[in-house]
């Protein structure tokens, strides 16, 4: 099959584009002194992404967002878990091959400079993927220039430039064009605007939203900035220490957050709106070490509502609204939380 064709929708609109099941990544680390240990970077993720939606993933630095994106991109092998793309199991007999999957899923990284080979021109960088997949050089070059146009960089001016000659925002546009070059259906954006100035950030976000419409894309949008996620996401997944804390539609997460962690994150963000009252204590301290996460609920060491039950039993992901789930005992009447005593700090 020529890679110039847009891949058709196989499973139909109701079939989620991506299903992530029980995704786990433990990095073994070990020294002579400490013995064998593992970093529980991603520790059991289950979620789906519908066609043409944007799923935002938020969480503090080190909670496993990048690891999750690299797992989904299959740049690293999972310790456990599987990925289903448009109804087909990835990399399994009878499913979708890794090569085919990689054509349909592309990624944009945070650091616009290190994502581009300094020795290649902008056009060469964008055309590289199509060439790898057998597109003739001329055609790949043409597509690269079309894409430069689509991301707002005049091809005549930029195609033959080298990355160091461009600004951060321009380079990130090039990275977006590069990700589009294989006509993917899903694009993973790992903090794509976090390294950019605020004014440039808004332009790139709007570009991403436009491109999504034009090309019928689905986004997995990772950020530690809640304002950015609120702006672009349809649904939001809140991650804490490798696990899902809360998952739901963007309005529910920002308006009716059920998890104390989400509420603390919301309370901590710098607000443009002085009338927004702080009903929650903002987040304090740093997350615990993912080598040795707390027993029970992982958030209990920083949670103002923590009780004994929280240290004893790990909360499940409870349904607290339509398509809205939170992993917290306090949200459940029958979890035993009501009868439990406050956790001594």
């Amino acid at each position: 099959m020529s890679d110039t064709q847009q891949i058709e929708d196989r499973g139909g609109p109701a079939q989620p584009l991506l299903i992530v099941k029980g995704l786990v990544k433990h990095f073994p680390i070990g020294s002579v002194f400490t013995g064998k240990q593992v970093v529980r970077a991603v520790d059991g993720l289950d979620f789906t992404i519908d066609k043409r939606e944007t799923l935002g993933i938020v969480g503090e630095s080190g909670c496993g967002k990048s690891t999750a994106s690299r797992l989904i991109m299959s740049l690293i092998a999972p310790t456990e878990g599987e990925i289903v793309f448009d109804g087909d199991l990835v990399g399994a007999a009878g499913g979708i091959s890794l090569a085919e999957y990689r054509r349909q899923v592309q990624m944009v990284f945070q650091d616009s400079y290190s994502s581009l080979n300094p020795r290649l021109t902008i056009e060469e960088s964008i055309a590289y993927g199509p060439k790898v997949h057998g597109t003739p050089h001329r055609e790949a070059g043409e597509r690269a220039r079309d894409l430069l146009q689509a991301v707002g960089l005049a091809p005549r001016q930029y195609a033959r430039r080298f990355p160091h000659e461009l600004s951060g925002g321009q380079r990130q546009r090039v990275n977006i064009a590069r990700a589009l070059a294989l006509r993917p259906r899903l694009i993973i954006l790992d903090e794509p605007v976090s390294a950019l100035d605020k004014s440039v950030e808004a332009q790139v976000l709007n570009l991403l939203l436009d491109l999504k419409e034009q090309f019928g894309l689905t986004y997995l949008f990772i950020s530690h900035d809640l304002n950015v996620v609120e702006h672009v996401a349809d649904r939001v997944l809140v991650m804490y220490l490798g696990k899902i804390a809360e998952l739901g539609p963007v309005d529910d997460i920002f308006g009716r957050a059920g998890h104390p962690y989400t509420r603390a994150l919301l309370a901590s963000r710098p607000s443009m709106d002085p009338t927004r009252r702080r009903t929650q204590p903002p987040l304090v301290g740093d997350p615990p070490n993912p080598i040795n996460p707390p027993s029970g609920c992982r958030f209990r060491t920083r949670c103002a509502l923590a009780r004994e039950i929280c240290a004893e039993r790990e909360p499940g992901l409870y349904e607290i609204g339509a398509g809205h789930q939170a992993a917290c005992h306090a949200t459940q009447a029958d979890s035993g939380y009501g009868d439990s005593r406050r956790l001594a700090a």
Binding site: T4, R70, M73, L75, L98, A99, R102, R103, V105, Q106, M107, F109, D111, Y113, S114, S115, L116, N117, P118, R119, L120, S125, Y128, G129, V132, H133, R143, D146, L147, Q149, A150, V151, G152, L153, A154, Q157, Y158, R160, R161, F162, H164, E165, L166, S167, G169, Q170, R173, N175, R178, L182, S199, V200, Q203, N206, L207, D210, L211, Q214
Partner: protein, 300 residues
């Protein structure tokens, strides 16, 4: 597909800083080098030396071993002997010119071989990662544990004197450090996002190495290798000085330094001339290597 949309024209799309439209990486490096006076000066000295040494038989007024005991240890400026004569009455200028051929050859050859061998091994280790990397790097560490001069003397001593053995021992000395540098540079590049992005397109290892790894690691490894030429010349001279390298009457700078030892009080200027040559060459190589490294760091 022909995309005619141009959504969200970049407001930060200031025209790129560089005016020419065909600016390649190496042209940018060249332009930076042209602005670096120290590197240019040292490079010019090295070129001049290389030319003089290369054409030594034409340039030198005498043969390297022609001499007469009656004319021994004439001072610098003696008519017919611009740089005087040595302890056996041989013309110093002629001997230095011919000696440079040996010194440069013994200095550069081991580094060149080590660059090819060590560079390849290091790049393989860095790209392969995992167990292969571990195995290669542990073996390298064993060699690395010895001080380089000691290792060179030990290997040379056990192989015996002679130019081939000196080169062999120096090559063995320089392979481990080059492996280390090549491995760390390659590992660094392999983990950069553009290498990951290339993997994410589904490109094979061969394409990734050729397009993304080699062009970005060869420069830094080469620059490191040039910084070793100075050391190599000094150690090679040291071996000759100890009687382990080139044998008399061949004129090698280190060896000349050795045989002129006895004249250090009567003709100190003449006795130190070979040392000055060694020093100048190695310092110039280091400056040029430094300048290259700076010029190649385009991001700065």
């Amino acid at each position: 597909m022909t995309t005619t949309y141009s959504s969200g024209i970049a407001e930060d799309a200031a025209p790129p800083k560089v005016a020419e439209n065909d600016d390649t990486y190496w042209r940018a490096v060249g332009r930076r080098l042209m602005r670096d006076k120290v590197t240019l000066f040292c490079g010019a000295i090295l070129m001049l030396m290389a030319a003089l040494i290369l054409f030594a038989p034409l340039v030198a007024p005498y043969g390297p071993t022609d001499g007469s005991i009656v004319r021994r240890l004439k001072p610098i400026g003696t008519p017919g002997h611009l740089l005087g004569t040595d302890e056996l009455g041989r013309d110093m200028l002629s001997r230095l010119l011919h000696g440079g051929r040996y010194s440069w050859f013994v200095g550069i050859t081991p580094v060149a071989i080590a660059f090819l061998v060590g560079g390849s091994i290091g790049i393989i280790a860095g790209f392969a990662g995992g167990k292969i990397n571990m195995a290669i790097m542990r073996v390298t560490d064993v060699f690395y544990a010895f001080p380089s001069v000691l290792l060179a003397v030990a290997v040379s001593g056990s192989l015996g004197a002679g130019i081939a053995n000196a080169i062999m021992s120096l090559t063995i000395v320089f392979i481990p450090p080059i492996i280390r540098v090549a491995e760390s540079v390659t590992t660094g590049v392999r983990n950069l996002d553009y290498a990951e992005a290339a993997r994410a397109t589904g490109a094979g290892a061969r394409s990734i190495v050729v397009v993304h790894i080699l062009p970005n690691v060869l420069g830094p490894i080469f620059v490191y290798a040039t910084s070793l030429v100075g050391v190599s010349m000094i150690v090679a001279s040291g071996l000759s000085f100890l009687g382990l390298g080139i044998k008399p009457p061949d004129p090698e700078w280190g060896l000349m330094l050795n045989t002129l030892r006895s004249a250090i009080y009567s003709q100190p200027m003449i006795a130190t001339l070979p040392g000055i040559c060694i020093f100048m060459t190695s310092v110039c190589f280091n400056f040029v290597s430094d300048g290259l490294r700076t010029a190649m760091d385009v991001r700065a």
